[in-house]
């Protein structure tokens, strides 16, 4: 049976992980390559690197992070943040990333989804959507890291993204993000039922039960989180044990 995926997300700026990391004796708490390797050993199914570097001058550093990680860690790697062209996508895929995630750039130029999908395949094309509830059962798409309300309905955009060639949707609930009080299961279920590509739930995962809920009631195919793993509240292995006991199919550490 296809396993539900658990995906740690590493926010990287200038080549360093920025969210706090205090769960293991890292030689260097901010080293993304070392952290990626630890997550891999702990049973992560994939990894997402989100480049939050403000200045484009430092983009080279991210390339090195991806390249070094791909040499050590043999699970799928997604890179998001700052991918604005087919050239940007090619650069990270060539050094060892498997997928690129695009967000604001796709809203501004939807054809980018098709370009990446046709060149590298739908399996390499992740559409990241930041959504905020505008009224019950309705969510708007936000861009620029949540600063700009596009007024576009999340379902409309998810379906359009699928039609344009996206192979996966990374769906972040801005209402739940950072709060660690559970994912927005209504959001993930609504998008999941109205699309035919895998949905990665993001935003709000703070307790193992939150993951159980979003991967069952929320009908998500994968769940992404950062703080719960970084701060060592729960290891991935712990989390998978809880999921396994709850009857959610997961790949146990080998």
């Amino acid at each position: 049976m296809l396993a539900k995926r658990i995906i740690p997300c590493l926010d990287v700026t200038d080549g360093r992980v920025v969210k706090g990391v205090n769960f293991v004796a890292l030689r260097d708490a901010g080293d993304p390559v070392e952290l990626a390797d630890i997550y891999n050993r702990d049973g992560a199914d994939e990894l997402v690197f989100l480049d939050i570097t403000a200045s484009s001058d430092h983009r080279e550093t991210m390339i090195h992070v991806v390249e070094d990680t791909a040499r050590k860690v043999f699970i799928p790697l997604t890179v998001g943040g700052g991918i604005r062209s087919i050239t940007d996508a090619r650069t990270v895929l060539t050094v060892g990333a498997d997928k690129v995630s695009i967000n604001t750039a796709a809203i501004e130029r939807p054809g980018l989804i098709t370009e990446i999908s046709e060149e590298f395949g739908a399996q390499a094309t992740v559409l990241a959507i930041d959504a905020r509830r505008s009224k019950p059962g309705v969510w708007n798409v936000f861009t620029y890291g949540g600063r700009n309300d596009t007024g576009i309905d999340v379902l409309e955009w998810a379906q359009r993204g699928e039609d344009l060639g996206a192979g996966e949707i990374l769906l972040t609930s801005m209402d739940c993000d950072g709060v660690q009080e559970g994912f927005d299961c209504d959001l993930t279920r609504t998008v999941s039922r109205n699309t035919r590509i895998p949905i990665i739930a993001s935003g709000g995962g703070g307790h193992p039960e939150d993951f159980v809920r979003v991967l069952t009631d929320g009908e998500a195919d994968a769940a992404l989180a950062a703080s719960i793993f970084h701060y060592g509240t729960h290891t991935i292995d712990d989390l998978k044990n809880v999921l396994n006991k709850a009857g959610v199919p997961v790949r146990m550490r080998c």
Binding site: M1, L2, A3, K4, R5, N40, D45, A70, R71, F74, I75, P76, L93, T94, V95, G96, D98, E118, E119, F120, G121, A122, Q123, A124, G167, E168, R196, I197, P198, D221, A222, R251, C254
Partner: protein
């Protein structure tokens, strides 16, 4: 020499990294001459069936691939590289695959989420050499929308996977190996699969 064939579109880096990690030397080959020098050939493929076939034809290596496979050179096709061994694919119905084996590669029907993306279990058929020492039901990483149906792989089936239907996750016949999953992204198990391929003898009796 272990040759990894680069047709220009696939991301080879992950395959290279995996071989580096298990201490194997290889060469990236891009033409007929390179293929002829290789004692084992790996064809990694990502993207579109049509793009792969067009590239093989543009590089004028179709005949070389067919000949080396018939001559008994151990061959490993990864993902699209396995699908290319068959006659046709629904992804590009007008094009001919390498046609080593008959049959058509199909698209998952609309009842499943496509692409089939993530870690899924293998059901081994017998004791395939490629999948020695990986356990009974190993999880490996898949990312694909088209699949090899069981009826066209027949006795060459080395492992099945279930995604709504049972389909072929690996083939193995004499010197020809193919995997639908990505050993280069399947962690430690994937490294074992690569080692097994590199240790495999051709089993083709030269006349």
């Amino acid at each position: 020499m272990i040759g990894i064939f680069d047709y220009g579109a696939g991301n080879l880096r992950s395959v290279e990294n995996t071989l580096d990690s298990i201490g194997v030397r290889y060469e990236i080959v891009t033409d007929e001459e390179g293929l002829r020098r290789a004692s084992k050939v790996i064809l990694p493929g990502v993207g579109h069936f049509g793009q792969l076939i067009h590239s093989l034809d543009a590089l004028e290596v179709r005949t070389a691939f067919c000949e080396l496979i018939r001559e008994g050179v151990p061959f490993l096709g990864i993902c699209l590289g396995m699908q290319a061994l068959f006659e046709k694919s629904e992804e590009a119905p007008d094009l001919d695959g390498l046609s080593i084996y008959p049959g058509v590669v199909r698209r998952f029907d609309s009842t499943a989420r496509v692409p089939h993306m993530g870690w899924n279990e293998l059901e081994l058929e017998g004791r395939p050499r490629l999948l020695g020492d990986v356990g009974e039901h190993p999880y490996v990483y898949f990312a694909h929308s088209y699949y090899v149906p069981t009826e066209i792989a027949g006795k060459r089936t080395a492992a099945l996977c279930n995604y709504g239907i049972d389909y072929v996750a690996a083939i193995e016949y004499q010197n020809v190996f193919g995997v639908q999953f990505h050993p280069e992204k399947s962690g430690v198990l994937g490294q074992k699969v690569m080692r097994n391929f590199l240790a495999a003898e051709s089993l083709v009796v030269k006349s």
